[in-house]
């Protein structure tokens, strides 16, 4: 299966599709950090939330890069489950690179300042940043998978799933949302990373929420892929 993951990542990069979401991520980060310096945990919290739709789009692009018949060939070779698992792993790997760039970029451009006052120390801020970006990565890959051509079978339905998921992720994540459990907890995580940072219980709860959301969406993806090769 690792050979198929490598093949898909290579095709994604060589085909030129990898550049587009990466540029989009850099534009988003430029807007985010362009207005001044941010605290470590707070900056990373917002960065993870705004990267969620970008990571979802990147995952969809990666999964759609392969021609349908080539995906079918992979399914014949490795079986249904390993074929789609390899796709998710490739999307995770590509998303990890984007998330790493998102975490490094503000230090290069001077968009991040060292902690002050009651803010979490630098090491804790960095760890919380990794945590927030991993939440966004899991949610982004899950949404991107649900929007991929193998499931939606067309350009417009795929875009609709992507945009709806991305917008709802923000809107239903706002404070006082009527159904926060319907979307990944990226906005709540961003809020929790302000000021003194989240408590261990908050981190645990938000992680459980994000894992449950991604697992439910991936389960739906797996169910749909049983009938949609």
């Amino acid at each position: 299966m690792s050979a198929l993951v490598a093949m898909r990542l290579t095709a994604f990069v060589r085909g030129g599709r990898a550049a587009v979401p990466l540029i989009a991520a850099l534009v988003v980060l430029g807007v985010l950090y362009g207005g001044g310096q941010a605290g470590v945990a707070e900056g990373y919290g917002v960065s993870a939330a705004v990267l969620f739709p970008v990571l979802a789009w990147q995952s969809k692009l990666l999964l759609d890069a392969e021609p349908d018949v080539q995906r079918h060939l992979a399914r014949v070779t490795l079986g249904e489950r390993r074929e789609w698992t390899a796709g998710l792993l490739a999307a995770l790997a590509a998303g990890l690179v984007t998330a790493a760039i998102a975490m490094a970029a503000p230090w290069v451009t001077g968009g991040m300042r060292t902690p002050r006052g009651a803010e979490p120390p630098l090491a804790v801020g960095l760890a919380l940043g990794v945590w927030a970006h991993l939440l966004a990565l899991a949610a982004g890959v899950a949404l991107g998978a649900l929007a991929c051509r193998a499931v939606t079978r067309g350009v417009l339905p795929g875009v609709a799933v992507l945009v709806t998921g991305g917008v709802l992720g923000i809107v239903l994540g706002l404070r006082g949302s009527i159904a926060p459990w319907l979307v990944p907890p990226l906005m709540p995580a961003a809020r929790a990373l302000t000021d003194t940072g989240p408590t261990a219980a908050e981190v645990g709860l938000l992680t459980a929420h994000a894992v449950a959301w991604a697992a439910a969406v991936i389960a739906g993806y797996a169910w749909l892929r049983r009938r949609r090769a």
Binding site: A6, M7, T10, R14, G15, P67, V69, L73, V76, L78
Partner: protein, 236 residues
């Protein structure tokens, strides 16, 4: 590989493509799938290969290694033929030397460093054939494998089929060009109106292509039929 009461359609409101298909391709056997265009031959082959799942019924005894040659090889990929086949071999866990060996045999060696998208249809089809046999398949599924191949390469198909069956594998091949004569001893499945009719191997026949004046075509066809010959097609 066995189809047990397999029903298939592409959507809840779509017509059934297959209705209660119950056939088996035994190890060491060759099955030729016949039927007119659009009748569902490729669908049946994809069910056999494992691309599609039956809506009802099941496919059992599918070997662990399945080679599938799709009707059209997906050439729109950013690889050369060599890179593609090397990666296909890695995915299949086939030995790396299998790429060079099959490339040589299929006449692909001069094109190994050509990008897939720049290959001719026939050469791309050979790449499709090579990827399916890099690891010896227990079931080889060929969807119109002769399509686009030149005369020299067309004779390789029956050779490969014979090798797979000799090694105990089963071969399932669709044919609408009348190439069945090149596969002696093959069982025939005829697909029509969603149902499969299996029949034993054809008599020892060959295909003779003849050219006649257009005006005489109808009369010639009628005369040959009257003499007991099978007309596989009229073109031109």
């Amino acid at each position: 590989m066995r189809l047990e009461d397999v029903w298939f359609r592409y959507g809840r409101r779509a017509d059934w493509v297959l209705r209660g298909a119950a056939v088996a391709a035994e190890p060491g056997s060759t099955v030729v799938l016949l039927g007119r265009n659009g009748v569902g031959k490729s669908t049946l082959l994809q069910l056999a290969a494992g691309v599609l799942r039956p809506v009802r019924g099941r496919v059992t005894d599918r070997p662990a290694v399945v080679g599938w040659v799709p009707e059209r090889f997906p050439a729109g990929q950013p690889f050369t033929a060599r890179q593609y086949l090397a990666r296909a071999a890695a995915v299949r866990r086939a030995p790396a030397h299998a790429v060079a060996a099959w490339a040589e045999r299929l006449g692909l060696t001069p094109y190994l460093d050509t990008r897939l998208a720049a290959l001719s249809k026939g050469t791309a089809q050979k790449v499709g054939l090579a990827q399916a046999v890099l690891a010896p398949p227990g079931l080889l599924v060929l969807d119109e494998p002769w399509e686009g191949l030149d005369a020299g390469a067309r004779v390789l198909v029956p050779e490969i089929v014979a090798e797979v069956t000799a090694a105990g594998g089963a071969v399932l091949v669709s044919d609408h060009r009348g190439e069945i004569a090149a596969l002696p001893g093959a069982t025939r499945w005829t697909l029509a109106d969603g149902e499969i009719h299996a029949s034993g191997p054809a008599a020892d026949t060959v295909v003779v292509e003849i050219g006649v004046e257009r005006a005489a075509a109808g009369e010639t066809v009628a005369r040959l039929r009257a003499e007991g010959h099978t007309i596989l097609g009229v073109r031109g």
